[in-house]
Symmetry: C2
Subunit: 145 residues, 2 copies
């Protein structure tokens, strides 16, 4: 099994609020949008984040009831601390809930905030000087001293 995630799919109880959050707040464009069913956004080379109507998600997964999202965060790293604040306020205006205002994190040097999307996904918006991506896409993590 190659080391690739091709789709992350999130159960959504409100696709319209989801579209508002990602397209007005994050300024993303969908790859494919089937109203009432599923919305796809490309989020990395070869990788798509999709929001799937929660009833249909349950049916597809053989679950007894439409699930609420828990236990998952997604993170977006910015090039500056100011960008963290700007993005958080854009996401809040578009329907996000700020659960951790922009602040220094527990690990040295990280400056971050948490914004929950309409589905319960916690977004960490962060400026992290210990993270970088090489030209070939390799993620470089260094540990703060």
């Amino acid at each position: 099994m190659d080391q690739n995630v091709h789709f992350m799919t999130i159960a959504s109880h409100d696709l319209d609020a989801t579209r508002q959050f990602y397209e007005t707040g994050a300024m993303w464009a969908s790859l494919l949008d089937v109203p009432g069913e599923i919305i796809f956004y490309q989020v990395a080379p070869g990788t798509v984040l999709s929001f799937f109507d929660a009833d249909k998600f349950a049916q597809d997964a053989g679950l007894p009831a439409a699930p609420a999202v828990s236990g998952v965060t997604l993170a977006h790293n910015t090039s500056s601390r100011d960008d963290v604040k700007i993005i958080v306020s854009q996401l809040e205006v578009a329907g996000g809930t700020v659960s951790k205002p922009a602040q220094d994190g527990a690990f040295g040097g990280v400056f971050h905030a948490h914004v929950t999307d309409p589905n319960g996904v916690i977004w960490e918006i962060a400026h992290n000087p210990f993270w970088d991506v090489a030209d070939d896409g390799t993620v470089l993590l260094s540990e703060p001293s």
Copy 2:
């Protein structure tokens, strides 16, 4: 906000079982592994999937209790239908729970299975002839006729 997910983080109640599933079952190699805390796997250019001790996840997110994962699936597409069956049996041996044995999906042409990881993440292992990735990483989705 650029259209990029840099980290997906999953709350884990058993990092040892997680390591077994991903390293023995999926044959993945970690980018960084801090026993008892967090394991990072690169899963796309610039994108990392991490498993974070659930108590620490709760503390970081300001949640009242360690969450169980629900409402999220991850998908891996294979180049053949046979590969779906091979990968599913490797993941099952490594501690996965097969909730949907390999079968034709509800949408035309897809052949898939569901395997739940030790944390509650539902993995869809699929052969999907309506999905492709261009050389520049752009995901190409076509709808079955």
